[in-house]
Symmetry: C2
Subunit: 470 residues, 2 copies
């Protein structure tokens, strides 16, 4: 909560504090302040947002100060459970994690419901991926358009990506790629993977060369998941911009149709931000249009795009969908995943800069064991006696959450849930099950990654025709 010094603040004072606090959070992040400092600042930001909403009855929007005419609605106590999600900040007060049903309402997307999952199974003849069955991919936009196209034998393609911010990815980073691979296989469509090394150069204290190096290292991890080189293009923004006759033309078209006011509202940019950050959203938007890849799509501009991504990336694509019809392109469809929780609990998204916040793809079996045993937030009780008597809480237990991502066997997972909830399974046993699941998975990944040579990376990253005719 923010300090109130001299009586209650007016809406304008609150607005100014919020704007300043937002600036402060961004500054702390830019300056790589300690995690606790950033968390503290974000907590204040969220508290101010609650105050602002209580006072004005409206959501805070950067660049839109309250006016005298703003109605002040007091609907009882402020909602402590309000989550905050944008591409740089994911905050929730609940150990269960973000309230995704609320997020669907707030973002105006659609829930991935049984009907949609059934239709995917029917059309592809394949059982839905457990990320779909378990609600890990939980929200979508226009997925029925994609399925209509598929049903009518019309082509589409998949676009996903990643900001390569360090040499090593953690298991959470794999989620969109694991699901993307499944999508690509069941629909048999081209895939483009954007590595936004330009974004990382702009946001972090990195050289161009270092950002590109992260791109290559991250590309190896992505390739190690088993993507088909004949159906997949992986590209670095820094490199591909200078290789593609279509990419920049789409970037500049998006840039013409988005104002500073808009990106200020969507992403919270300020006048003190560099012009690179301000124009970057167009670079994440452009791969949504097939003409950004003339080698793959033979110059066609009308191939629809499907973007699987974590829900925090949705603001980029809301913007993209707003612009698309104005520059005569189809709107990209989207499938959104929940956040992969940090070992310490679902209140925050994991950080690649905190080695103990997750399991990294470079971790040894011993490191995995130690991290899970030492850092994984437990839903168990304090003593064995209590645990046996009252049972554990799977809704907040991070080991159980991780198993929903990585234990494919539905029956076994359900048994774990029942046993841990009843107290029949102890926390140590649950942790051991996660360790036994992750250790071989990570070891196998490391083995496959070793096989990924510079030559293979180059093949994936060379603009070329794929195994599809357009």
């Amino acid at each position: 909560m923010a300090d109130n010094e001299s009586g209650p603040l007016t809406p304008l004072e609150l607005y100014d504090r919020l704007t300043a606090q937002g600036d402060r959070v961004r500054t702390l992040k830019t300056e790589k302040a300690s995690k606790s400092d950033i968390d503290e600042a974000v907590k204040q930001l969220l508290a101010l947002k609650v105050d602002y909403k209580t006072s004005t009855g409206q959501d805070y929007k950067a660049g839109s100060p309250p006016t005298d005419a703003t109605p002040v609605i007091q609907n009882g106590p402020p909602d402590d459970e309000d989550d905050f999600v944008d591409p740089w900040t994911v905050q929730t007060g609940s150990a269960k994690g973000v309230d995704y049903d609320k997020l669907i309402v707030r973002f105006g997307s659609s829930k991935i419901d049984k009907e949609l999952i059934d239709r995917i199974e029917r059309l592809t003849g394949k059982k839905a991926h457990h990320f779909l069955r378990r609600g890990i991919f939980f929200s979508h936009r226009d997925m029925h358009h994609i399925l209509d196209a598929y049903e009518n034998k019309k082509p589409f393609y998949i676009y996903t990506g990643r900001g390569p911010s360090s040499d090593s990815m953690h298991v959470g980073h794999l989620i969109p790629f694991i699901f993307t691979k499944w999508l690509q296989e069941v629909f048999n469509v081209p895939l483009v993977v954007q590595l936004t090394d330009d974004e990382k150069y702009l946001w972090k204290d990195l050289t161009i060369e270092k950002a590109y190096q992260y791109t290559i290292e991250n590309a190896k991890d992505i390739i190690a998941l088993g993507f088909d080189v004949n159906k997949t293009l992986i590209f670095s923004d820094l490199e591909y911009m200078g290789m593609s006759p279509g990419f920049y033309k789409n970037v500049v078209q998006v840039q013409k149709h988005v104002t500073f006011n808009q990106v200020k509202g969507i992403f919270g940019f300020t006048d003190s931000d560099c012009i690179g950050k301000i124009s970057f959203p167009a670079i994440q938007a452009a791969p949504s249009f097939s003409s950004s890849f003339p080698e793959i799509f033979n110059g066609r501009r009308d191939i629809q795009c499907l973007i699987p991504c974590a829900i925090d990336q949705d603001p980029y694509f809301r913007m993209t969908r707003d612009v698309a019809p104005r520059i005569s392109y189809p709107k990209p469809a989207l499938m959104h995943s929940t956040f992969f929780p940090a070992l310490q609990g679902a209140q925050t998204k994991m950080s690649a800069s905190d080695a103990n916040s997750s399991i990294f793809l470079t971790d040894t079996p011993k490191q995995i064991k130690t991290k899970v045993n030492k850092h994984a937030f437990s839903g168990g009780k304090d003593t064995i006696e209590e645990h046996r008597k009252y049972g554990g809480n799977c809704e907040v237990d991070v080991c159980y959450m991780y198993l929903t991502f990585f234990l494919e066997d539905d029956e076994k997972l359900e048994q774990v849930r029942q046993d841990y909830t009843s107290g029949a399974m102890l926390t140590g046993e649950l942790k051991k099950l996660l360790i036994d699941t992750l250790q071989p998975l990570i070891a196998a990944h490391q083995e496959r990654r070793k096989q990924v040579t510079a030559e293979i990376v180059k093949q994936f990253m060379t603009p070329r025709k794929l195994a599809f005719d357009f």
Copy 2:
């Protein structure tokens, strides 16, 4: 490179520029920039304060923007002699044109004086171009660095450009290219010519395709001036961005080091401008760095750049020079030309969209004759009797001004000046001399342009090694 379109600045725009310039001075001081850079920024700040006071009648005060209630004090008639120059606006109240000595003080550049011209003649062994002798190129930055390098057999290169806003260029558009060609020949250095079709797409109601078409048409006119294909690269931003492994990397480096506050201050952008305009200055900056052309400079990052351009383009390159040392590049040197006057008089810069405002490279001999006779603002008297008695005024006569650009013979030009000033030469005779000068010049240009095939354009526009070893 932009044409000038909008009117004088409002008090609020001036206020925003002042605020941004104040930020810039503080940033430079914080970053311990060189004394000359800080001095230059302070000089601009002071000049803006004078403008602000003139416009609002009040002293600038940080944090107190001008309101509607701001009293505007009119101390007698407004100062007609105060000029305003930025890439989109050139304003002067004087028929003699902009006061260039004042502009040198305001922009913090240096006058091209006799000493510099003598040094150029001494080092190259060539007589100075009449644009130098007659003060048409009148201002510079760091030209002595370039000459030092030349004297020590160190390489440099020339960069100039144009915003291709219509199929047809007018004679004023040729000025920087005529001078550039002379510079290239006497110093024997590589030349890169940027055609900012992306800028024109962003600023005008144009399609990408139309903007690129203008690029090709304008390239033909530039090539027709006789540039050497072995020493010259002409490039379209829309095309070259997707062909060069170096260009985008430099664009994004500039974009990281310039804030919205800064471009707001320098170019007057607002929150309602599209993010393409806001980030564009980096695209005009990037060709100032040799690594944007790896094929020409073999990847070298340290080759200094000399930019001949009209003075209204200086804001782009003040920004570039500010950023250059922070990304470990040499600052580009500059040579600035005066504006080519409209036929209607020197108060405004010409407009490519007004066919009668200048002589176009597509005009027939008859059109040239009609335009000069009908539209060229005359410094002559109303009747022959008065003219014979009092003489004409060369300082405001547009035909005389045009002759200073296109009549190479110094003695003949001086004779014209004396005769017209004394009244011995009549306005009709002066007009006829200009017509007789321009008609063969334009006809010869049209003849040479006809020889420029699509194949030749393609040669000039293909990224490649030039006839220089690096």
